[in-house]
Symmetry: C2
Subunit: 330 residues, 2 copies
């Protein structure tokens, strides 16, 4: 296993720029969008980085593409393995199909239907594992080791992190002065990547992570100063569920200013608001940054705020239920 400070040291501005050039041909452009409603609400300029509009429905495609496009010829021929709460698996399946390499994706059994079905449709083999992401991760690692296939971890692989970091690069290319970037935190790949880029470019931008109260592993670890395990809870933020690992934790301690929590009710209200006020379909995990902003959890700081909307892949039935429930809380 890679040592964390080495991983962080191996991903700098030049690696991130190389990743951006490598993956650009396969991405949808997702320029920043100014939010009139949120800017008025919080009294500062608020922009979305709408990765919910990205191909496969999340930013995870970036890391998966960068990892698969940098595999050696032999590795590529044999195939790749991933464990995923869903969106990383979608990214891996999409990228694997692009270069015609076989992919096997291990999902926790409660992964949303939309994610499971789309991964299968992209041609990857899907295997369901009882339990959580962490269980799927263990089974997948073991499978990859035995079959001598490349294992692409969603948050502790340096090529994956460099891919996710391209979100930070794109933000900084569009906004030269920037106060705060708010990023959903699960295992830490996206927040770590964006944080690495922000640190490496020497700006004073605050990078703040957001989690749900029902997916608080990284927040708890951050507060305790050591890895803390948390029990799985029902959540709208399936993409952020699971325990923190040593690599992600060490990376985030190094590059994040803070991690804040939001309630599940606030996530639901935010999904509704983004749908009706902004015309955006965002999954729970993708909404936590806006929820933190709406709840005033970010503290005071000067400058514009960029909130990363990390993904869109919410089951339609779940979305319908959220939209139909109490509209007063909007």
């Amino acid at each position: 296993m890679k040592v964390t400070h080495e991983l962080a040291d191996r991903i700098g501005r030049s690696e991130i720029e190389a990743a951006a050039d490598r993956i650009a041909p396969y991405l949808r452009p997702t320029p920043l969008e100014h939010s009139v409603a949120l800017s008025a609400r919080v009294g500062r300029e608020v922009f979305f980085k709408p990765e919910c509009l990205q191909r496969t429905g999340s930013f995870k495609l970036r890391g998966a593409l960068n990892a698969i496009l940098t595999l050696g010829e032999g590795e590529r021929r044999r195939g790749v393995v991933a464990a995923s709460a869903g969106n990383h698996g979608l990214g891996v399946a999409f990228a694997a199909r692009l270069v015609r390499t076989p992919a096997t994706v291990f999902l926790p059994e409660n992964a949303p239907t939309v994610k499971r079905e789309r991964i299968r449709t992209l041609g990857a083999e899907v295997r369901s594992v009882p339990g959580t992401f962490d269980d799927a991760d263990r089974v997948a690692r073991d499978f990859a080791l035995r079959a001598e296939l490349s294992y692409l971890h969603p948050t502790s692989d340096s090529a994956v992190i460099a891919g996710q970091a391209t979100v930070g690069l794109e933000i900084s290319r569009e906004l030269s002065t920037l106060g705060t970037i708010v990023v959903p935190v699960g295992g830490g790949g996206l927040a770590g990547g964006i944080g690495l880029y922000a640190r490496d470019t020497g700006t004073n931008t605050r990078v703040i992570g957001a989690q749900s109260e029902a997916t608080p592993a990284m927040h708890a670890s951050f507060g305790a100063g050591e890895l803390v395990s948390t029990a799985p809870q029902p959540t709208l933020c399936d993409g952020l569920a699971g325990d923190a690992d040593a690599i992600g934790f060490a990376l985030l301690r190094r590059v994040l200013d803070d991690i804040v929590l939001v309630s599940e009710a606030s996530v639901a209200a935010t999904i509704r608001a983004l749908y009706f006020e902004e015309g955006l379909v965002v999954e729970g995990a993708g909404a936590v940054g806006v929820a933190a902003l709406r709840e005033g959890r970010l503290g005071e700081a000067a400058g514009p705020i960029v909130v990363v909307l990390s993904g869109a892949n919410i089951d339609a039935a779940v979305l319908a239920r959220i939209l139909e429930s109490s509209t007063e809380s909007r």
Copy 2:
């Protein structure tokens, strides 16, 4: 009322290019996307023009922006009126908010909740009219006339059509050789605009319209060689419902090669396929072009095919119902 051949004569390449420059700052980029699944299915290269990803969830923003940005100062101050099945109203509400002009939008009472709610959230006044789009259109025209407000018709206003035509301009900038463009047809603004651009650039591109069997007014008129009225039917393609008018009909006769029909069942199957195979949320009206392709309704012609996915605004409950229903037909 404007005479049609005059309208067509007034919208040429230079008007469309001017519209593109005018509205570009407010649009999301929607580059063509190659469809692996559909290309394999039909044995030709198929690309999507994904206007379902456009701001407000449809291409209609283009025409509304172009119309409102070209209003005189006095007209702009007084305000604008629109009648709409929903997406044009969303475009008008978005554009009106941008230039701070009051907007009143008349919707048929059965317009989808998502469209009605979003128009209201954008700050426009929403008025429901019993009956169809055509009823809303009559009431809105009358209201605009009495109040001396600018009436922005969704399909027979030259600035609106020039705005929609920018879809054609963008397609032709990306693909120099092009066999067929397939476009959903309601009142004819989008298909007319794209057709005008294709004709004006002197390419041999076929431009083919698609409608649902439940929204066949323009198809029937096309076949009869004169305006034919059709009874309203239940449809997933609410955005295409309503009778053809003289202006749209004359425009489409001049610029379209054909109009084909698809079944409602095929529209539902296509919504499912786009969701699972392509990761795209598309409303019924936006799916008819792909349905026509999947059903083999387009006839034979050489060259790549571009299918315009015109919009995404489907009620989440309707989407959930479609996705949950029979998956065998996928």
